[in-house]
């Protein structure tokens, strides 16, 4: 199977996908109620798309193509309200966050669709352990070469996106010490990691046909890369973020990525180099483990600083682009996260106060459902 041609899309358009957790209102454990939620939602008209995910305790919301923070956050709020209302009608709570703090993976049930059963057979317990919740952000690119350029330039900033969105400190009932433990589950998949260092679309097509030739993959969907091209949309998709605790933060992070993309596309600050990836996994680990306190090593200068400093610095550099994109409010939200902490620190503080993970999840759901 050959790769689909790269569809043209409006540069810097954005789309957001959020995977959400469905919770039992009695004990706030995950509940396999996606079919009930989708049946209820199917009876209503709503913006964007609401879809099933791998296990039946997950549901995914997708926005339509957006350009600005204001309309993006409005659509996300409307999607949230649709999902939250369906949840209230069915006595199911809905929450953000990258992991469920105490669910047991073996109790998850695979959603009844051929692709999910195929994946479940292939990956075994990994598929069920994949009951994790991420935010994916699409950025529109005018040409496929531009998409590959943006992809490799953005890779330097992957730790930013991880640290800002990190909201999965608890796994299977314990504090993992990580800000985003969710990504540890992603890394166990054989085709995770980064895209190959290819800067021309013909080169990427050659890579793809060689890979399908080996029989390892069938489509782009089989790559679980941190950032991957999505030719049928004409976008690249940033996939490292945890689902934040509110739709507002999700929208702000999407717009932060958008403003950074504009900075990269307009100012073209240098060309990507393969050696940029020497520090890639170290930086990414630091972001997962320590969040905003993580160490960031600049791939070119090898200077070390905290991720918080590097993000603050970036905010200054992209300020004009953010203004152009009407993303002032989003940038203020990002500054707010730098000052008061990400979702992981909110969850840890809530746990320190509640002493009980069920209560933490209840607060988490309240926050997300805007109760």
């Amino acid at each position: 199977m050959s790769l689909m041609p790269f569809a043209a899309s409006r540069p810097l358009s954005i789309g957001v996908e959020l995977e959400l957790q469905l919770l039992d209102c009695n004990d706030y454990d995950l509940i396999s109620s996606a079919p009930d939620m989708l049946r209820r939602i199917a009876r209503q008209t709503h913006h964007g798309e609401i879809k099933p995910e791998m296990t039946r305790s997950m549901i995914e919301i997708n926005t339509s193509v957006q350009y600005e923070y204001a309309s993006l956050v409005e659509e996300l709020r409307s999607l949230r309200n649709t999902v939250a209302d369906a949840g209230r009608f069915l006595n199911i709570a809905v929450a953000g966050g990258g992991t469920h703090p105490f669910q047991h993976w073996s109790e998850q049930k695979i959603f009844d669709a051929p692709r999910f059963h195929y994946l479940s057979d292939l990956y075994g317990y990994l598929a069920k352990q994949f009951t994790i919740f991420g935010q994916h952000v699409h950025i529109g690119c005018p040409t496929p070469d531009e998409a590959l350029y943006l992809l490799h330039m953005l890779s330097r900033y992957v730790p930013h996106f991880i640290a800002l969105s990190a909201s999965s400190p608890f796994v299977q009932g314990h504090d993992t010490g990580f800000a985003s433990a969710r990504l540890n589950s992603v890394f166990s998949f054989p085709l995770s990691g980064r895209a190959p260092f290819v800067l021309r679309w013909e080169g990427f097509e050659r890579f793809f046909s060689k890979m399908t030739g080996t029989g390892v993959v069938e489509s782009m969907k089989d790559f679980y890369w941190d950032i991957r091209p999505k030719p049928e949309f004409g976008t690249i998709e940033v996939r490292v973020c945890d689902t934040p605790l509110t739709v507002e933060i999700a929208a702000a992070i999407a717009c932060y990525i958008q403003a950074m993309a504009r900075y990269i596309m307009e100012e073209r600050p240098g060309e990507p180099q393969e050696d940029d990836y020497l520090v890639y996994t170290f930086n990414r680990f630091q972001a997962c483990r320590f969040g905003l306190e993580g160490v960031f090593i600049d791939p070119r200068t090898h200077e070390q600083r905290s991720l918080r400093e590097d993000i603050a610095d970036m905010l200054l550099r992209i300020a004009d682009h953010a203004t152009e994109l009407q993303a002032g409010e989003a940038m203020a939200q990002i500054r707010q996260i730098l000052a008061t902490g990400n979702g992981a620190s909110w969850l840890r503080q809530t746990y320190a106060h509640e002493h009980n993970l069920s209560d933490v999840v209840q607060q988490q759901a309240k926050l997300w459902m805007n109760d």
Binding site: N26, I31, S32, S33, L90, E107, K109, S358, D359
Partner: protein, 403 residues
């Protein structure tokens, strides 16, 4: 001078009747485990079945428990299960989804009408028919709670089953008292009692339930983290509430159910209790089912089999069709509604107590329709757990189910 009889037992052996119950309990538990392991049936079937087999309705190997002791046991065990049921149910849900309240009311009304109509057709006096019809409204909280716990079921059908069971038990207890009061009215004790008695019952039970709920919440706040201490305290409180209620001639069942609902309503906090609040509660629950089997009375089946079977049939159809009719509006699929309707069928201790209370007030009842109801109870107590388990499996809500 010492004789043999001083330290050896004399023949024939004099054994306390409690030994027989203990023996039945051991056999019942072993059989229950066998049913789970080899036939994947619920344990309660074994508990009830062994009681039935060994008791007076079966091989008559084990004498019946004295009525007072049996009653205390059932009051306590059912009290635990009703409080547990109430604390699992979120009343706020009814506000967010009024269709569930609608389904519950329709289901109760349809059950009442169907059974009432059937009995009139059998030439039963109106008031008596009404009393039986109110008793038929209730789904067994004991079987529902026990089977849901045992199969680790979670999901829409499970939650609706718990909620609708709690609601129809409330309707049944209150309507039953009203119907009995009418029976009194007809017997000529005067209008004032017909009005005052149910008022006293409802008001008094609600007040006691509320007090219990408040006491419970404050104990939980202070001692909730010491799980064992907390379970013991709770268990004692349930016993006190049961005894106080009987003393005040209130309904212990209504009080404990209301208390559970209030506890859940007041603090919208997730709370995890041990099943039946610990092993002491669990032992009582097993004992109750076995004792129910021992006390089973199948005379009604011999004398009026047709009525017994028709009563079960129309009650089942009424519950099933009501749930099916409103399924779409309340947000479940037809398949889920089918399983929910079936899961609402079981009858057990609560129905039995209402029947016995009626019989105590009106001796004629115990030899007539009382026997018919007793037979229905025996059948639906044996079949009930299997139906609930099948239903929850069919809805894909049990943990063992794998796709």
């Amino acid at each position: 001078m010492m004789t043999l009889s001083a330290y050896l037992p004399t023949w024939p052996l004099l054994v306390s009747p409690a030994l027989w119950l203990a023996l039945a309990l051991v056999i019942a538990v072993l059989v229950g485990e066998g049913l789970v392991r080899y036939l994947r049936l619920p344990r309660i079937v074994g508990y009830v079945g062994i009681g039935l087999l060994l008791g007076s309705a079966g091989l008559n190997l084990i004498p019946e428990l004295p009525a007072a002791e049996w009653r205390l046991l059932v009051d306590l065990a059912l009290g635990i299960l009703l409080f547990e049921l109430g604390s699992k149910v979120n009343l706020r849900w009814l506000k967010a989804n009024p269709w569930i309240a609608g389904t519950s009311l329709l289901e109760a009304a349809a059950t009442f009408s169907a059974v009432f109509g059937l009995l009139l057709w059998f030439d039963i006096a109106q008031v008596t028919a009404a009393v039986v019809a109110t008793i038929a409204i209730a789904t067994s909280p004991a079987i529902v709670v026990r089977t849901v716990t045992e199969s680790h079921a979670r999901g829409q059908v499970t939650e609706r089953l718990l909620l609708m069971t709690a609601l129809n038990c409330i309707y049944a207890i209150i309507c039953h008292k009203l119907a009995v009061a009418f029976m009194h009215g007809e017997a000529g004790t005067g209008l004032i009692h017909t009005v005052l008695q149910p008022l006293y019952l409802i008001g008094g039970s609600a007040l006691l339930g509320w007090l219990f709920g408040i006491a419970f919440n404050s104990i939980h706040r202070n001692l909730g983290r010491h799980e064992e201490t907390f379970s013991f305290l709770l268990f004692g409180m349930i016993a006190i509430a049961t005894i106080v209620a009987s003393t005040l001639k209130l309904s212990p069942m209504l009080i404990l159910l209301a208390a559970g609902l209030i506890v859940r309503y007041q603090r919208q906090r997730p709370r995890a209790f041990l099943p039946h609040f610990g092993s002491a509660g669990a032992v009582l629950v097993v004992l109750m089912f076995t004792a129910n089997g021992l006390a089973a009375n199948l005379d009604g089946l011999r004398d009026s089999m047709l009525l017994v079977l028709l009563l079960i049939l129309v009650r089942t159809l009424a519950k099933l069709s009501s749930v099916l009719v409103l399924a779409r509006f309340s947000g479940i699929s037809l398949q889920q509604a089918l399983t929910l309707g079936i899961a609402l069928v079981p009858m057990s201790s609560l129905t039995l107590l209402l029947t016995l209370d009626t019989a105590a007030a009106f001796p004629a009842f115990s030899s007539g329709l009382g026997l018919v109801l007793m037979s229905c109870i025996v059948i639906l107590e044996l079949a009930g757990p299997i139906l609930v388990q099948m239903a929850l499996r069919g809805a894909g809500e049990t943990l063992e189910e794998e796709t």
